[in-house]
Symmetry: C2
Subunit: 421 residues, 2 copies
């Protein structure tokens, strides 16, 4: 008998999500590798064995045993696209929007992204951390054990660095691990209105080097992301920013084709970006490119939903092209305030045509690859971190089928219970 910290046993369905070191690509997406009456042995926060309850109980003696009581067990969700941290809310603006106000009227009334930028610039680091801790607690309760978090509500060097500091503080103060992304090119701030190219120069000459210095100081991986969109940053500006970022040691991400198919997806693949995100209006040729490169396509179905739209990421075309598809929430105060990856799964099943199994892999293993952590998280395989969910149902197919509530009962982070509902 080998002594381990934890033996989780009697999972009606243990969803391993076999990876072979890779995301699940194309129409191979959706292999859950279910073990009936499954068990996981954990030591030092790491999975040391996965198998049937009978076999693991014969091999391992554990300090703590958790009986899953026949419920379904999955890897923790990974949310690879959030706009944490921000300060304040825009509930008033949402009210104006549903009452029929146009985007321009809302902007004129002080709404839109610059409203959040103003709040975030004015908040102290401590205020920013305090405002975002409850959002992370909610994410955890709904099953997210790792997430990406972006700057982009500073849009000036000091405020962008303050957001990076807030991400680091939030990462340290609660269980959800955060992968930081630097997004000074999220919007053109009002003070640069009509002078986009000068703002791009500022990003390239001052902000990116400052972020790279932060990255060195904390010896952490940092992504650089750009909002490549009509009226924001065009493909050439996006390329200039990302090429500089790559030279400074950032990994790359792109907000691509959310409202207009500009070419951001193709650029992302060409530059070897870790992910290209949104992809609602992506042209066919750009979808084809996803089959060739390593870039993960990240669908954010909460955003069209949040906006009351009816067009979503064309998942089937991406899979037919051999692309690797992940899901994320896009959690942000403007278009999509939703902390729950279960909601992203429910939307993806209905409006992107994914089966529950495909959506679950997209929300775990492939999402881990979308933040370059596919080697450590996203599946229940030996050697990976023990980030584990015990659902409130024996059948993974209830994810997506049921919606609007929480089907996660217990959340384990590195083998420790961190949330119970």
């Amino acid at each position: 008998m080998r002594q381990v910290d934890l033996l989780l046993h009697s999972a009606g369905q243990l969803c391993v999500i076999p990876s072979r070191g890779q995301p699940q690509r194309g129409n191979a997406l959706g292999d859950l590798g279910i073990i009936a009456d499954g068990a996981v042995a954990v030591h030092d926060g790491t999975i040391v064995a996965v198998g049937s309850t009978t076999s693991l109980q014969q091999t391992y003696r554990a300090h703590l045993e958790i009986d899953a009581e026949g419920q379904c067990v999955t890897p923790g969700f990974v949310d690879p696209h959030t706009h944490l941290p921000w300060f304040g809310d825009r509930a008033n603006e949402f009210e104006q929007r549903v009452a029929g106000a146009s985007y321009m009227e809302i902007m004129a009334a002080g709404g839109g992204i610059m409203s959040t930028v103003g709040n975030t610039r004015n908040a102290s680091l401590d205020q920013l951390v305090a405002d975002n801790l409850p959002r992370l607690e909610r994410m955890l309760r709904y099953g997210t054990t790792s997430a990406e978090a972006k700057t982009g509500y500073g849009l000036e060097t000091a405020a962008e660095l303050k957001q990076l500091d807030a991400i680091l503080a939030l990462h340290q103060q609660q269980p959800v691990e955060l992968a930081p992304t630097f997004l000074p090119a999220h919007a053109v701030p009002s003070e640069y209105k009509g002078r986009t190219s000068q703002f791009v120069d500022l990003v390239i000459n001052e902000m990116l080097p400052a972020g790279a210095e932060w990255m060195r100081q904390y010896q952490t991986q940092l992504f650089c992301d750009v909002f490549c969109e009509e009226g924001v940053f065009d493909v050439d500006q996006t390329r200039r920013i990302l090429e500089k970022a790559a030279a400074l040691g950032y990994r790359l991400k792109v907000h691509a084709d959310e409202f207009v198919g500009l070419g951001g997806t193709k650029l992302a693949v060409e530059l070897g970006a870790t992910s290209a995100d949104h992809l609602v209006k992506t042209p066919e040729a750009d979808i084809a490119s996803l089959g060739q490169g390593k870039t993960i396509a990240v669908g954010l179905p909460g955003t069209p939903f949040g906006l009351g739209h009816s067009e979503y990421t064309p998942a089937k075309a991406i899979l037919d092209a051999g692309g690797a598809l992940a899901l994320a929430t896009d959690l942000n105060p403007g278009t999509c305030w939703c902390e729950s990856m279960q909601m992203a799964i429910a939307l993806a099943c209905r409006y992107m045509g994914l089966t529950q199994a495909q959506a679950l892999v997209a929300a775990t293993l492939n999402a881990a690859h979308a933040i370059n952590r596919g080697a450590e998280i996203g599946s229940l395989e030996t050697g990976k971190q023990a980030d584990i969910l015990i659902l409130d149902t024996p059948d993974y197919r209830q994810l997506g089928y049921r919606f609007g509530t929480n089907l996660v009962k217990r959340v384990l982070k590195k083998g420790t219970i961190v949330s119970e509902s």
Copy 2:
């Protein structure tokens, strides 16, 4: 100082939802009657005073004080259209549907409503109760304090009465009050395939009298509902059933215009039905009729969402016609397994064009009128039951704006805390 059981105080926004004994009709929908720093005094489960914290603290001494700590306080949600109780699930069928199977293929594989009918017929009363208690617990946690519950998965007399017995048992065993509805005309069971008029005869001659006998035995209000839809029960059959039901003492409801605008809404108004529900394809003339009668129009946005559709109840037209609009979940295992009225609100804001205030009134006061309980529940007025929610936010406008998670922190039923998240 007057002694009371409970004083709930320091609500940042106390949403009274003034009723004047009536639902809020037409474009007057959305009056929340907010009291800043509000308080509610409760005695014997009933609201005895509503006002500012200062004034109520000067007048009342309470056995229990609850400090809302500046959060928003609202009436409990009323869910006036659910298909509780049923047995089992149809997660496999949902998987087939998102993978592209047609409705006919799913029926051929044993799916569709008859699958749930088979499960529900085979379940014992105890099994039926046990299977549905967790759903009610979830409804309560998400803020529903009263709900309607329908039969309709029996489709034969004994099994329909077993469902009524289950509703009564569920009503007695947990805090959510249930208003029972008899719906033997929910579908034509397979054994009557091609013989709809004979099934209608059975409903009229055997089932309705049996339900009426049950109603007398338990001295409870009972609704009769019919699924008036192309290929199910036409307007004439619906009229025959409802006229007989009215004669037997039932109050009336109609499933109208979900897929085809047959005329069910107009019939409901003509017959003085308490509510007409779904109303997605309602013809303009039928919408106009809602402005004249007492019938409440119940929008069920979870159902088009659950089906991945993009057409919803035309709320603005209903309000422009002077109709009284309520919201419900339509909780059921086929098209919409969602226990959360917060999700119905979020969908109504995005796809029915309601503001958060309109949706909140539709989910409380008007929903109470849709089950003929507008005099007792649905608002925080003196004399009403103390069914109260303390939200996890100071601003009611976060309902609808945020989605997919639970913004209800504490639920009080008749003045007692029954759920905390």
